[in-house]
Amino acid sequence: MGKAKVKLDKDLLEKIKKYAEISGYSSPEEFITHCLEKELAKLEESDSEEEIKKKLKGLGYIS
């Protein structure tokens, strides 16, 4: 699997390390990956909502 480096603000990184440990993540990387996946899922979902809206709007019975 390919890997990429991402630059983070030092203070943010410290916070991530702290909360990753408190929350029981095995590493800060795992915590970051989980957060990003959750955010991406939300965005992908909203795409499909827009798509549904677009498809149904012309039906006339709904607004």
């Binding site: 979902e45 499909s48 909502e49 549904i52 809206k53 677009k54 498809k55 149904l56 709007k57 012309g58 039906l59 006339g60 019975y61 709904i62 607004s63």
Partner: protein, 668 residues
């Protein structure tokens, strides 16, 4: 021609069955196989034709063909489906079952894993296997469009016995069910974008831009040196990795003096005067060098000055080069296009969204709807002329669409009633009844003593004066909870719903679902507690009184387990709401928005409706034979078709024939 063993057995069965009924055996009536049946049926399906209005217009002497059919045969109210929505009702007719047998419960279903609304009628899947080449994604297998209606269609039964059928535009048959019969899909057929229809409107008026209009896109354009440059959006290009929207560029040249414009599309130019429609124009959206998608649309130059306004209809699938399946055989849509030129293929052809959002006015909408009618009439006459045997079904949508949009001008108590408009357009509904009377009159020319002529509608009509926010009612009664109270009414798709504290929710126009543990993604109601909860909610809904009118908005709350039969009953919403006359579900509730008020006045032009209690909006049934059934229902007509052609009725069909066994041969 030799007869196969299977064909022989069928013929033998038919002869036996008909002798048992006291009818002359089918074979002795010169039925020698396909295109040679002696018995014939012509069925005209006029969507939403209302028995009360029909009777008034007949008594006023405005509908001579209907009056003749009533005089020579019979006229009864026709029991509709639960709920009385067109996709459900026509599926009852097509399959001879109720929703438990065909699995269409509403225009809109829901995905229990995401609580998101879905199309009930069909599902489109892209190619599962693809290959990437640079920025291109090339499919290795075809994508698929699937008809979600279950159950066998009556023309498929007829086909098994070599009885020919032509079925024109019947709803709930997109993509068309596989058959060798001649069929073309109707309501449920998307536009080229895969939607229920999206128009484009080009204007220099900034106030009209950025409006969130259902069913339309508004484009801000600029006049520079009497010239306008614009883009017409097409389907998403799935051949490209980033799936960009396709478009074609076009130019409009304004005459410096006169209210006239020249529209320049790739490969075609035409001139429109202000207030003129273009007729159909073909537009081709390029995907990759070897692939493009063809569509058809109409341009309407609404205004040239002081502000420029150009309307472009939803882009219909081109029947001459269909990008999606439209007909069986596939060549049928091409045959009609070759004979008549392009024609409306989108399921709900007239653009009610454009009228509702004031892009088209009443007069302009009626002109567009007249185009639909003209096309339908021409194709009907063609099909009628070549109808020799078997069954011809013909469908008209304008009866439904006009009643939705113009009821407000019949009903002085409607919140959208306008006296000035009523003077000018108050007879729009009457006119459509007169138009279909003319279609019926034509049909008489092909009726002989061996032909059953039947006119039917899937439901009637009622005023839609008040909108009922069902999800809001659920919240107010403790069945649905929000995450943030202050955000109530802002979001669609239940985004503000706290599923861990929600027992029931409503999606679609009549359906109510329980948030069931193990079925819904975040369900909380155990299966064993469901029935008691369903009955409690149904009881409370039926007893709710609108404080403003003193009326009960919900006349019946049907528990689907009680009223549906068949293998798909488990997939149904738990409750189907039967609204009282004057009430309907709100505009916001079907997609999971939760406004603050339970009931709001409906001030929209969409002012007549039928998503109510079936008992208050029956359809019509007229035939040239006496109707034996006391309360005929849609699925009884399917049984009647099989009876007419002497076919056995499969056990899954619920209906009973409406005629006395021998009556078909004895007109009154």
């Amino acid at each position: 021609m030799s007869m196969k063993r299977r064909d022989f057995l069928k013929t033998a069965f038919l002869a036996g069955a008909l002798t048992g009924l006291g009818l002359e055996p089918f074979s002795s009536l010169a039925a020698k196989g396909k295109r040679d049946t002696a018995r014939k049926m012509i069925i005209l399906g006029f969507d939403g034709l209302d028995p009360h209005l029909l009777e008034i217009f007949i008594r006023q002497g405005k509908l001579p063909a209907f009056a003749r059919l009533w005089r020579e045969g019979d006229f009864k109210r026709l029991g509709t489906s639960i709920p009385p929505q067109s996709p459900v009702a026509w599926s009852n007719f097509i399959t001879g079952t109720d929703p438990g047998g065909h699995a269409i419960f509403d225009f809109i279903h829901r995905d229990p894993q995401h609580y998101l609304p879905t199309f009930s009628a069909s599902k489109t899947e892209e190619a599962k296997k693809t290959i990437s080449l640079g920025n291109l994604v090339l499919p290795l297998s075809g994508g698929e469009v699937t008809l979600l209606r279950r159950g066998k269609a009556f023309w498929q039964y007829l086909e098994e016995y070599d009885i020919p059928a032509t079925v024109f535009k019947i709803p709930s048959n997109y993509p068309p069910a596989p058959t060798k019969q001649r069929t073309i899909s109707g309501m449920g057929t998307p536009d080229i974008l895969g939607t229920y229809g999206i128009f484009n409107f080009y204007t220099t008026t900034t106030a009209e831009v950025q409006q969130d209009i259902g069913g339309g896109r508004i484009h801000n354009v600029y006049v520079i040196g009497n010239q306008i440059e614009a883009k017409l959006p097409g389907p998403v290009n799935t051949f490209k990795k980033d799936r960009p929207e396709t478009y074609i560029e076009f130019k409009v040249y304004l005459d410096p003096v006169n209210p006239v414009a020249k529209i320049s599309l790739p490969g075609e130019e035409f001139i429109l005067r202000e207030g003129e429609w273009s007729g159909w124009k073909r537009v081709e959206f390029p995907l990759i060098p070897t692939q493009s998608v063809s569509g058809i649309c109409m341009f309407y130059l609404k205004q040239v000055r002081p502000e420029f306004k150009l309307y472009v209809s939803p882009i219909n699938i081109d029947p001459a080069k269909p990008a999606l399946p439209l007909s069986t055989p596939e060549s049928y849509s091409r045959e009609l296009a070759a004979k008549f030129g392009p024609f409306f293929t989108k399921g709900l052809p007239a653009d009610t969204s454009a009228l509702d959002s004031d892009i088209l006015d009443d007069r302009e909408f009626l002109i567009q709807d007249d185009f639909v009618l003209e096309e339908r009439r021409a194709i009907f006459e063609y099909e009628l002329k070549r109808f020799e045997s078997g069954l011809l079904f013909y469908y008209v949508s304008s009866t439904d669409q006009r009643q939705h949009m113009f009821w407000r001008l019949l009903d002085k108590n409607h919140p959208a009633y306008d006296e000035r408009l009523a003077k000018e357009f108050g007879r729009a509904i009457e006119h459509i009844y007169i138009e279909v009377d003319r279609i019926l009159d034509k049909a008489f020319s092909r009726v002989d003593k061996n032909t059953i002529l039947m006119v039917m509608s899937d439901h009637g009509f009622s005023p839609f004066r008040y909108a009922f926010n069902l999800n809001t009612w659920l919240k107010e009664n403790g069945y649905l909870s929000l995450i943030n109270e202050w955000k109530q009414g802002e979001e669609d798709f239940f985004l503000n719903v706290d599923w861990h504290r929600t027992k029931a929710y409503a999606v679609g126009l009549n359906g109510l679902y329980i948030n069931q543990k193990g079925r819904e993604a975040e369900g909380i109601v155990p299966a064993k507690e469901k029935e008691a909860l369903v009955r409690e909610i149904a009881r409370k809904l039926e007893s709710f009184v609108d404080p403003a009118t003193g009326e009960r908005p919900v006349r019946r709350a049907f528990v689907t387990q009680d009223v549906y039969h068949g293998p798909y009953t488990q997939e149904a919403p738990e409750i189907i709401l039967g609204y009282n006359q004057g009430y309907r579900v709100s505009w916001a509730s079907p997609l999971g928005r939760i406004p603050k008020k339970i009931i709001e006045p409906n001030r929209e032009k969409w002012s007549g409706d039928h998503c109510m209690d079936p008992a208050v909006i029956p359809g019509i049934l007229l035939t040239n034979r006496p109707i034996q059934a006391k309360f005929p229902q849609l699925f009884d007509l399917t049984a009647t078709i099989l009876q007419t052609f002497g076919l056995p009725q499969p056990p899954e069909m619920r209906g009973k024939p409406i005629f006395k066994e021998e009556s078909w041969a004895k007109p009154k």
